[in-house]
Symmetry: C2
Subunit: 227 residues, 2 copies
C-alpha cells in the first residue's frame, strides 16, 4: 500500500554531527583528548551511546587513553567528505531564501551556494555576490557546477513543480523548507525542515508541561531521551 519510501537520517548520524560540533569547540579551547563520557556530558547522550555510535562508524579509540580530538575530527571529515567543496543551489529568494544565502556557516563548512534562483525578475541580479538567476538557467548552472544538492525555499504552491525540475536536471538531495511532502524518485534524498512545526511542537509541549497534572501525561508526549 505504500507509494514511496523515504530515507530518513538515522539518529546515530545526527549524533555524530553533535559530537563533531562539540569536538570543534573543545579543540578551540585547547583540549587534545576526549573520553566517551566527556563527549557524553557535553552533548547530553550517554557514554555507551557515544561508543556504540563510534563503533557503527568504525571509529576506534585507545583503551584507557580515550580519543585524540584531531584524529577523531580527521576521521569524521573523511566520513563526511568535508575535505571536498560542495556546490549547492538555492531556489526561492524570499525572506528565508535571502537569509539562507547569507548564512556564513555554510561556507565555513565548505558548502558553497554557487547560485540562487527566483522567478521574480526584480530579484534577479547576475552581478551580485551570489548571483540570482531566472529558473530558466537551472539546468545550465547545475551542469556547469556539477551540483547535486539543492535548498528549496519557494512557496508551497510551486514546491513540487520546482522539485520535478531539479530532479530532472540531476539533483539528488534537497533540503526542503516548503511545508509539503515532495514526491521524488527513491534515489533522491529529501530532508524536510518545517519551521512552523518546530515552533508549534514546542508550544504544544510547553503547554502540556504547564497544564499536566501528573507525570503520566508527559510520558505520552516526550521520550525522556538524553539527547
Amino acid at each position: 500500500m505504500k507509494r514511496f519510501t523515504k530515507y530518513v537520517i538515522k539518529n546515530s548520524l545526527k549524533r555524530i554531527f553533535l559530537y563533531r560540533a562539540c569536538l570543534v569547540r573543545l579543540k578551540l579551547m585547547g583540549v587534545e583528548k576526549v573520553f566517551s563520557y566527556t563527549l557524553a556530558n557535553e552533548t547530553g547522550v550517554s557514554s555507551e551511546q557515544v561508543r556504540k555510535d563510534f563503533s557503527e562508524f568504525s571509529i576506534k579509540g585507545n583503551k584507557r587513553g580515550g580519543y585524540e580530538i584531531n584524529e577523531l575530527l580527521e576521521i569524521m571529515e573523511n566520513i563526511f567528505h568535508r575535505n571536498k567543496d560542495h556546490n549547492i543551489v538555492l531556489v526561492g529568494m524570499g525572506n528565508l531564501g535571502i537569509a539562507l544565502s547569507k548564512y556564513s556557516r555554510f561556507v565555513q563548512r565548505n558548502m558553497n551556494i554557487v547560485a540562487t534562483f527566483d522567478i521574480d525578475p526584480f530579484k534577479q541580479k547576475v552581478r551580485s555576490d551570489i548571483p540570482v538567476y531566472t529558473p530558466a538557467r537551472l539546468k545550465e548552472i547545475i551542469d556547469r557546477f556539477k551540483v547535486k544538492v539543492a535548498i528549496l525555499a519557494v512557496p508551497e504552491i510551486s514546491a513540487q513543480e520546482v522539485t520535478d525540475q531539479l530532479v530532472r536536471f540531476g539533483i539528488k538531495g534537497i533540503v526542503n523548507f516548503a511545508p509539503v511532502l515532495l514526491k521524488v524518485p527513491p534515489d533522491v534524498i529529501i530532508n524536510n525542515v518545517n519551521l512552523c512545526d518546530e515552533l508549534e511542537s514546542v508550544i504544544y509541549c510547553v503547554h502540556k508541561q504547564i497544564t499536566a497534572e501528573g507525570s503520566k501525561n508527559l510520558e505520552l508526549l516526550y521520550k525522556d531521551m538524553k539527547y
Copy 2:
C-alpha cells in the same frame, strides 16, 4: 553520569503534524472524508502507523467510514491548543532572525511574534511592524504578553547567555537556531534547528548513495523508514 536530561519530541507527535498539514490541504481540495490509507499515502507512512498514532492521541474514526476531515482537524486543534493565540518573542535580528520575523505562516497558525530583540542599537525600532527592542526590556515584554516560548537566532557565542536570561524571565520553551547545546533546567523544552547539519547530512547521504557499491552500505546510513 548524565548532567542534564533533554526532552525530545516523539515521532508520533511529529507525524500528527504531518497528518494535519495533509488534512488541511485535502480540505482545501474539497475532500471531506479520509481513510487511514489516504493519509498514509499522502504522508508516506503506513496505514497501521496512522491508526496507531491516532489511537495514541485517542482519536477515533468510524469503522468502514474512515475519518471526517473536519472532525479530525477539530480534535487536533484541541490537542494542540491551536484555538488560542500564542505570543512568542524572537531574540537576534540577524539575517535569519529578520526572515523568521517576517515568516507569515507563523501568524496563519496563531503564533504571534509580539516583539523581537537585538543588542545592535541601529536595529532597534520600536515603531516598526514588529518592534525591535533592546534586550534590557526582555523581562518587561515577556511579563506583559505572558510569553512562554522564544525563538533564539543569536550568534553561537551569546546563545547560552541569552538562554539563561530567557529562562530567568519565565520562558519554558525555546526553538534554538544557534549550533550549541543549551543548558537549561529540566522543565524547559529546547528544540534545536541546526541548518548546517540539515544540509550537511543531505550532502553526506547523497554522496554515500552515489558512491555506494552495494546496498549494504546504505543500510548503515539510513533507516528505510516510510515517513
